[in-house]
């Protein structure tokens, strides 16, 4: 147990000292959010309708910037190899890594998505489903990112995103739908429950698969 707490602390330290790990997704998010009104239209009516999808897609794309961070540095300096050889529970270590990555890459964006009220004329009553769906949906996306990152370690190829984005489709659908439901006055709790179900269902599968994928690099 102490071992895992130490790993957790170490991960926190690494992420907090490397500012680019949490600044670059935030910058990407802010730039994209302010580009939409310029590229599409500054008409509040149009932007209001598009906002839920735009925010969700931007969050999805900004995770593409950070998913390589989960394993790539540990792979380059060789500490992954030591973790694999340590005989500790690897799924738990991977879970810690994903959790810390989520805190540093997704949580700031989720907080900043409140800005869309001003930038995209997003209705205020939609904020609650937006935040809840992002809070529950983004961990699933981080899971897919971990799997994609574990499989494409050390290679700068399109395969990571090409694997991650189709997998994230259900989360995107359910997340935007929850916001649209609540804006139309429909109860959105079923979507949140489904998002939670997907997260809980996929968590053990993806952890297991990511550990298998990590081991592939050290035969």
């Amino acid at each position: 147990m102490i071992y895992f707490i130490k790993i957790l602390k170490k991960e926190f330290l690494i992420y907090s000292r490397k500012s680019s790990s949490f600044i670059s997704p935030v910058v990407f998010f802010l730039i994209s959010i302010s580009l939409y009104p310029i590229g599409i239209s500054n008409d509040p009516g149009i932007l209001k309708n598009l906002a839920p999808g735009l925010i969700w897609i931007t969050v999805l794309l900004s995770t593409l910037i950070s998913f390589q961070n989960i394993f790539s540095e540990d792979y380059e300096d060789g500490s992954i190899e030591l973790l694999l050889a340590s005989g500790q529970n690897l799924s738990l270590i991977v879970l810690i890594k994903i959790f810390v990555n989520w805190i540093f890459s997704c949580l700031p964006i989720i907080i900043l998505s409140v800005l869309s009220v001003f930038l995209l004329y997003f209705p205020q009553e939609g904020l609650k489903p937006l935040i809840i769906s992002l809070l529950i949906g983004t961990p699933t996306i981080c899971l897919f990112g971990a799997l994609a990152g574990a499989l494409s370690l050390g290679k700068n190829s399109i395969t990571g995103p090409a694997l991650m984005l189709p997998l994230s489709l259900p989360v995107l659908i359910l997340g935007t739908q929850a916001i649209n439901y609540s804006l139309n006055g429909i109860n959105f709790s079923s979507n949140i429950l489904l998002l939670t179900a997907i997260l809980v269902f996929l968590l053990p599968i993806i952890l297991f698969a990511s550990v298998g994928a990590l081991k592939l690099h050290f035969n």
Binding site: L151, I158, T159, A162, L165, P166, L169, Q177, I198, L216
Partner: protein, 249 residues
């Protein structure tokens, strides 16, 4: 019975045995599949009756339905092979996934393309974000990810394992994609479009359709064997049994 099955399964794992047997099977399967496709195409295109609503356009069904149905079956068979590979480390399963993925992608593409060509005159548009179309598109993307992953690993065994993992994760996710797309779709458009409108399909149309489906399945079997033989010969080109075989011919 169980013993013979078990024997057959163990033999399947052997490259030389598979290479020998598949060489004998291929001519029959090839002739059967191509003749079935030719017969069903001629029957479907010239002799089956004209559809009352869609006219002659409906005849693309003889290409569309077999392609789409086989594309899903190939993915599910690949996921079974992936499980076999991860559990029993059977090398042949890796060969199977690698050889069948391009075929599956090709048939998914044919399905999407023929669907678009069919949709243009009947629905008035090449593409609709309908639930079925979207999930077929996602299936196509999964195939592309699997094919792309093949080249990212230097060692064959790692590549096979990685691809098996992706295939299994994909097959777990595919039903979720299907269901969520269904829900998403029902919000935006009510069921104004249904691909399976011809539930009361007449026998004169049904028989060539079934023949064409059968023909395409045999065609996949045929091309799958060819691709697997090609893959085996690249993997085993320096092995003794393969050199002996090629020097005999």
């Amino acid at each position: 019975m169980f013993q013979t099955l078990k024997n057959f399964y163990h033999k399947l794992g052997s490259y030389p045995w598979f290479y020998k047997i598949s060489g004998k099977v291929i001519p029959f399967v090839g002739v059967l599949s191509i003749s079935l496709i030719v017969i069903s195409s001629i029957w479907g295109l010239f002799f089956s009756p004209i559809d009352a609503v869609q006219g002659d356009v409906y005849r693309i069904i003889y290409f569309h339905v077999p392609a789409v149905s086989v594309s899903q079956v190939i993915y599910y068979s690949m996921s079974v092979a992936a499980a076999v590979f991860l559990i029993w480390r059977m090398k042949m399963a890796g060969v199977y996934i690698k050889s069948l993925a391009p075929i599956g992608a090709a048939f998914t593409f044919i399905g999407l393309l023929s669907g678009a060509i069919w949709g243009q005159p009947t629905w008035g548009t090449w593409w609709v974000w309908d639930a079925r179309l979207t999930s077929t598109l996602v299936l196509f993307l999964f195939y592309l990810a699997i094919i792309g992953m093949q080249s990212t690993f230097a060692s064959r065994k790692s590549a096979d394992t990685a691809v098996s993992i992706i295939t299994l994760v994909g097959v777990v996710n595919l039903p979720i994609v299907k269901k969520s797309v269904d829900w998403w779709n029902t919000l935006h458009q009510p069921a104004s479009i249904s691909i399976s409108g011809e539930s009361s399909i007449s026998n004169e149309m049904l028989i060539p359709l079934l023949l064409s489906i059968l023909g395409v399945y045999f065609f996949v079997f045929f091309t799958g064997l060819l691709f697997m033989r090609a893959e085996i010969s690249t993997r085993e080109q320096n092995k003794e049994w393969f050199k002996k075989l090629s020097s005999n011919n």
